[in-house]
């Protein structure tokens, strides 16, 4: 079962055996963590790359039985009509837990077991990675501690409760603005003290090598399925794949098997039957444009999380990548309406693919994301996560660039965001929102 994905012709995307993607990546961590990172690199190569002891087989089986994979690829009828293209939704919101996050969490917790570790720690922003890790830890019977920024705890109460229900300990992080950046730093501090017994399940394609490649590999099942499913349903491959990007794990998961694809099977290439070269499958990473792409150097605040579009190269949380930082190199406080995109960095592989012009970064602001949230909800009957909603904001703002078959990765469902969506919708003038009057005074 694990061999199908290894033999797919398009699997030869950047392997980065040395942990470098061009100049990005690397292992910028305190010395105390280096032995653990080397041990993890070794385990990644043995179990994930080489399927030793049938690790990948067990992983795939558990993703099916516990996670519910494969997730559907569904044609979005109203949106196809609206944008005059064949629009398909990759339904990662239907994965157990309600987001793509379980692919990675289950993979890493299982790997920790194979490595003989007896404790799991993780950071979480929106709480989606935390809930996925808590579920995976409960499923595999591992004790688990989750660090979460205090501000995010307040934005994501139900997810905090879900983690606790699954038996995880949730530790609030009060440093800085109390969001994902601070939670990652705090989890790294725990790891520096507990590294001999503990595995750190990082939540996106960020951090020191081997995390970026390993997390990508666990999520690459998304693009593997998209290939199979678009072939089945349309007779070819998509012309474009669109995904939101915070750290970029759902993004790289949806892109991985298309990176090196020559595009010969693109749907529009077939339909046109001409031999004009169509080029490779377009890959669009939609970032949080927040309230503005401008930056307040004085305050050290970037009111967005658009590190791919506006960031500069630097070193954060173990990797060299594109960052929101001031001219001295201090990391800025980022902002997004969605806590899962609210991060000043981005995965080094994605930064590299943007520099190589293989991935196109696009920023979508808070307002457009909220409109996207309402549009998918009221046209297709799917309430997306606010993170995912950015991808639907992109469709609306770039409608004239869409053609052929377009796949959007629906990275998560919006149940966790309902309270935030009520407040944000009431606070803004959202043209496509329902009548909000019955919510005044709270729900």
């Amino acid at each position: 079962m694990s061999t199908d994905h290894a033999t797919d012709a398009a699997d030869s995307h950047t392997q980065a055996a040395d942990g470098k993607f061009g100049d990005y990546g690397g292992q910028y961590v305190p010395e105390a963590l280096m032995p653990a990172i080397q041990e993890l690199t070794d385990a990644y190569e043995r179990y994930v790359v080489n399927n030793e002891d049938g690790f990948m087989d067990e992983f795939r089986q558990r993703l099916a039985d516990f996670g519910g994979r494969p997730t559907p690829l569904q044609r979005a009828d109203r949106l196809s009509e609206r944008y005059d293209c064949e629009l398909y939704l990759k339904r990662e919101d239907l994965l157990h837990g309600g987001a793509h996050k379980l692919n990675n969490a289950l993979g890493q917790v299982l790997l920790a077991k194979y490595m003989g570790k007896d404790r799991i720690i993780a950071e979480t922003g929106a709480g989606q990675h935390g809930t996925a890790t808590a579920m995976a830890a409960a499923h595999l019977d591992m004790p688990c501690t989750i660090y979460m920024g205090e501000r995010d705890i307040n934005r994501q109460r139900p997810n905090v409760f879900r983690m606790k229900l699954n038996g995880s300990d949730v530790k609030p992080v009060t440093a800085g603005r109390g969001t994902l950046k601070e939670a990652i730093s705090e989890t790294m501090r725990d790891w520096a003290a507990s590294v001999e017994t503990t595995h750190y399940v990082i939540g996106s394609i960020v951090g020191p090598h081997p995390f970026p490649v390993m997390v990508r590999d666990f999520h690459s099942v998304i693009s593997e399925e998209i290939r199979t499913q678009t072939r089945e349903q349309t007779g070819g491959l998509p012309d474009a794949v669109v995904a939101c990007a915070g750290g970029g794990s759902n993004t790289m998961g949806a892109f991985a098997h298309f990176i090196d694809d020559d595009g010969a099977e693109r749907s529009s290439a077939k339909n046109q039957s001409g031999d004009e070269p169509r080029g490779r499958v377009d890959l669009v990473a939609v970032e949080a444009g927040g309230s503005s792409l401008a930056v307040d150097e004085e305050e050290g605040v970037a009111p967005n999380s658009a590190s791919l579009s506006t960031g500069d190269e630097g070193v954060l949380h173990g990797a060299r990548t594109k960052l929101l930082q001031d001219s001295f190199g201090q990391i800025m406080e980022s902002h997004s309406i969605s806590s899962g995109l609210d991060y000043a960095g981005v995965g080094p592989e994605l930064a590299h693919l943007v520099d190589e012009d293989r991935v196109t970064p696009v920023a979508v602001d808070d307002d457009a994301a909220l409109e996207g949230f309402h549009r998918l909800s009221n046209t297709e009957g799917i309430i997306p996560a606010l993170e995912t909603a950015h991808a639907f904001g992109y469709l609306e703002e770039h409608a004239d660039e869409l053609s052929g078959t377009v796949v959007v990765n629906v990275s998560g469902r919006g149940d966790k965001d309902l309270q935030a969506a009520i407040e944000e919708t009431e606070a803004r003038d959202v043209p496509n929102a329902p009548d909000m009057s019955m919510f005044s005074g709270g729900i």
């Binding site: 100049d23 910028y28 961590v29 305190p30 280096m34 501090r189 001999e196 001219s327 990391i331």
Partner: protein, 311 residues
């Protein structure tokens, strides 16, 4: 993952420091190496505090250049860094501080790699980007940072998030300007990693007393003894840090073979108390000086005499 870079660089196992001042500070007995974050809680106050540490018997002083994401620090030093950043500390102010502070012991800059990587001596980060990614250009990145540090009077650097594997550009810049590059040896560092690190280290090796982040602790781990044992074949000075807070601990660590002790959080705690209780700068400085004397005296008491094999 090391870039095949096992170039036959000079083995530094003889402890030959690039910077003779640091070597001298370790040469005459155990060295007391205190740490404070520069600018905590203000430029002027921290100048008085650093000068108090020198009066209290510091042999080398580690000056923290505050970075917004200090992943190796526990809550005490995180607090210092937040206060310093809120007080307006920047890399350029830090170098001005180094030029202005009135002490005559060697100063070591402790910071995180992004501040070195982003450093531009014309205050323009665009220049760094334009001149290439590796910071090899003279006016940006590690080369520019080290040149400015050397010019200001810094003798060495400690960069906790820069493992030996990624350190070559900074190592080269330090060699060029005669600065020492101090590496941290953790309780988990052994075998080939220890070898390659000991070949690249200069000045002193920072022996991390226990796993975890910085922070004062009442017990001093027996991981320290094991680390000192592993390092006993190398004659680069070994300074132990992470958790030391009292003269007795300093004594015991020097007695078990350390050439120096590094103390941060126990001193930062005093600065924090001063902020919380509205002490005057002079009052806080007096307490810092007293604590420094206690630690320096403890270290001196622990110096093993040649005749006894004391435990």
């Amino acid at each position: 993952m090391t870039e095949g870079g096992q170039s036959a660089e000079t083995r530094r196992s003889d402890g030959a420091a690039a910077n003779s001042e640091i070597a001298a500070a370790f040469a005459d007995g155990p060295a007391f190496v205190p740490y404070l974050a520069v600018g905590d809680p203000s430029y002027e106050a921290s100048k008085a505090y650093v000068e108090a540490l020198a009066r209290g018997g510091a042999d080398v002083i580690e000056l923290g250049l505050p970075f917004s994401e200090p992943i190796a620090e526990g809550s005490t030093i995180q607090g210092a860094i937040v206060r310093a950043l809120e007080g307006g500390m920047t890399p350029e102010l830090f170098f001005e501080f180094v030029e202005a502070v009135d002490v005559d012991v060697p100063l070591v800059c402790m910071t995180y790699y992004n501040l070195i990587y982003q450093y531009s001596n014309d205050g323009d980060s665009e220049a760094r980007r334009a001149s290439g990614a590796n910071g090899t250009a003279a006016n940006t990145g590690p080369a520019a940072f080290v040149a400015r540090a050397a010019d200001a009077g810094i003798s060495g650097l400690v960069v906790p998030d820069l493992p030996a594997e990624e350190a070559d550009p900074l190592r080269a810049a330090c060699d060029e300007h005669g600065l020492d590059l101090v590496f941290i040896v953790a309780p988990t560092t052994e075998g080939d990693r220890l070898e390659s690190m000991m070949e690249r280290v200069s000045g002193y090796v920072y022996v991390q007393a226990r796993l975890g982040t910085t922070g004062a602790k009442s017990d001093v781990s027996d991981q320290t003894d094991r680390s000192l044992q592993r390092l006993s074949g190398w004659d680069v000075p070994k300074a132990v840090g992470f958790g030391i807070s009292s003269g007795e601990q300093a004594e015991r660590i020097v007695a078990s073979g350390a050439d120096g002790i590094i103390v941060g959080s126990a001193l930062v705690d005093i600065v924090a108390d001063g902020v919380d209780n509205d002490w005057s700068t002079a009052e806080t400085a007096t307490k810092l000086e007293a604590k420094a004397s206690e630690l320096a005296d403890g270290a001196n008491r622990g110096r093993p005499t040649p005749t006894t094999g004391e435990e």
